[in-house]
């Protein structure tokens, strides 16, 4: 099977729960090497790179999982986490001692990211005290703040109400417009139809069909896809 994403493109991976969407995202995020096949970045096999080079690749990606998994700290500290780990240890130790919040450029990115999800007013609040929707948006802002080349989102709106979902989908579109390649794993066909440039259907452990949303949802090439999108195929 094969799945690719280009800059400024939103690819959704659809499929029933438990089909392996999360596993696929974790492979793309280089959490662990694939049992077979390759994960390529700009044509290079990521697992053939040195640890250092692979870290550099990983740092062009930001991943948001289904659970917000925020740290027990302020919203702002959460949002700047990705930026913090990219700074040299000497700076981080100095910041930790002086209590400083990083460089001004980082602060700007953090502010922008929080603004994008509409939460800049909550930045001093502890992240664990947020509602589910707010938390998910902070998790998203945390990924946006590092200004990644590729954004991997696993069921980003599974815990969200329609209003929060709309905010999130706008933010995804916003990122795409800025040239970010976005991969979204979702079981929500309507969402896939709304936000995708391309849709990949993951069924029976492999991607059986890839194409623009109109094509996949209106006239699927594979019969299993048709049965899945019409709800006939129940898993």
């Amino acid at each position: 099977m094969s799945l690719s994403v280009s800059p400024g493109e939103v690819v959704t991976v659809v499929g029933p729960s438990g089909v392996g969407k999360t596993t696929l995202l974790r492979l793309l995020a280089l959490f662990r090497p694939p049992d077979e096949g390759t994960i390529s970045w700009d044509g290079d096999d990521a697992w053939a790179l040195s640890d250092r080079e692979r870290l550099a690749v990983r740092r062009r990606v930001a991943t948001v999982f289904q659970e917000p998994s925020l740290f027990n700290a302020s919203v702002e500290r959460n949002a700047e986490y990705g930026l913090r780990v990219r700074r040299p240890w000497s700076d981080r130790i100095r910041d930790a001692i002086s209590g400083a919040i990083g460089v001004s450029d980082a602060s700007r990115r953090v502010r922008d990211a929080l603004e994008t999800v509409g939460l800049e007013s909550l930045r001093d609040q502890n992240a664990l005290s947020l509602s589910g929707g707010e938390a998910q948006r902070v998790a998203f802002a945390r990924a946006l703040a590092v200004e990644p080349d590729v954004l991997l989102l696993d069921e980003p709106s599974s815990n969200l109400d329609p209003r929060n979902t709309a905010v999130l989908e706008d933010a995804i579109a916003d990122a795409r417009d800025r040239g970010v390649g976005v991969v979204v794993a979702t079981h929500d066909m309507n969402q896939a139809e709304r936000i995708s440039d391309r849709v990949a259907v993951l069924l029976d452990g492999t991607i059986i069909e890839t194409g623009p949303p109109e094509q996949v949802f209106e006239s699927p090439a594979d019969d299993r896809t048709r049965r899945f999108v019409t709800g006939e195929l129940v898993y």
Binding site: R26, A29, F31, L55, R58, R59, V61, A62, T63, V64, F65, E67, S69, L70, F71, N72, A73, S74, E76, R77, N78, Y81, G82, V85, R86, A96, G99, I101, D124, Q125, N126, L128, S129, A139, R142, A143, V146, L152
Partner: protein, 240 residues
């Protein structure tokens, strides 16, 4: 402090403060070293999956209940002039007491830290990794997320050390210089001296001081924890 002057037969303030100082020095240093050892061990065990993990965890948990007099005897055999560390002349020194309390406190701190570390969900580690964190960053996140559990672990270790008497009596020898300053006598071993001589009141006064110390340290711990929680709800800049 009033009844102390009245009932402590050995009371000179020098005597009293020096045994408190020895108690704090020995237990404090032992717990500090234990923590430095326990943290990486707990993180290592908590993060990894290996065949003997359950057995290792069971051994550590058993170590929490290891009888202190047995530890004292073993440490004495090790540091005694005839033992493997005999050349270091550690028998009946505060350093030998630090060693035995280190042995006693480490399983306690490791075990509680381990459960705190394991209480930090995989998802939080994944989030840190997925945002570009290295293994070291992920470990740091886990430590920070588990910080209140780790504080509890350190306090529990300190509580075990400061109130322990069996091992330090054996390896320290309960020595007081003839000018009345303690060399290896702690609050607990001083209590045994008072009890041995039937001066229960003086022993109780020392026991009360010990209790106040332990309570104070625990109060400090719960203050740190509540301060953390206060910040958790009230905001403020606390690093993850």
């Amino acid at each position: 402090m009033f009844p102390l002057t009245a009932t402590l037969p050995d009371a000179s303030w020098t005597y009293f403060f020096s045994i408190v100082a020895v108690s704090l020095y020995v237990s404090g240093l032992a717990v500090a070293v234990s923590t430095l050892v326990s943290l990486p061990v707990a993180l290592g065990i908590g993060f990894s999956e290996f065949p003997g993990k359950r057995a290792v965890t069971a051994v550590i948990n058993t170590g929490m209940g290891f009888p202190s007099v047995v530890v004292g005897l073993l440490v004495l055999l090790v540091v005694s002039n005839q033992g493997p560390l005999g050349d270091l002349d550690l028998a009946f020194t505060p350093e030998a007491m630090v060693l035995s309390q280190f042995v006693l406190a480490t399983p306690v701190i490791t075990s509680i830290t381990l459960s705190a570390v394991e209480g930090v969900g995989d998802d939080v580690r994944d989030a840190a990794f997925g945002l570009g964190g290295t293994d070291a960053d992920v470990a740091l996140v886990v430590i920070k997320e588990a910080r209140y559990g780790i504080v509890t672990a350190v306090l529990a270790g300190f509580g075990r050390a400061i109130s322990e008497v069996g091992s330090i009596l054996i390896v320290g020898g309960n020595i007081v210089y003839s000018d009345g300053t303690s060399y290896t006598r702690t609050l607990t071993t001083a209590i045994t001296v008072e009890a041995r001589q039937g001066r229960y009141e003086a022993g109780l006064v020392l026991g009360a001081v010990l209790l106040v110390l332990v309570l104070g340290v625990n109060w400090l711990g719960s203050w740190i924890r509540s301060r953390g929680r206060g910040r958790a709800s009230g905001g403020g800049r606390r690093s993850p």
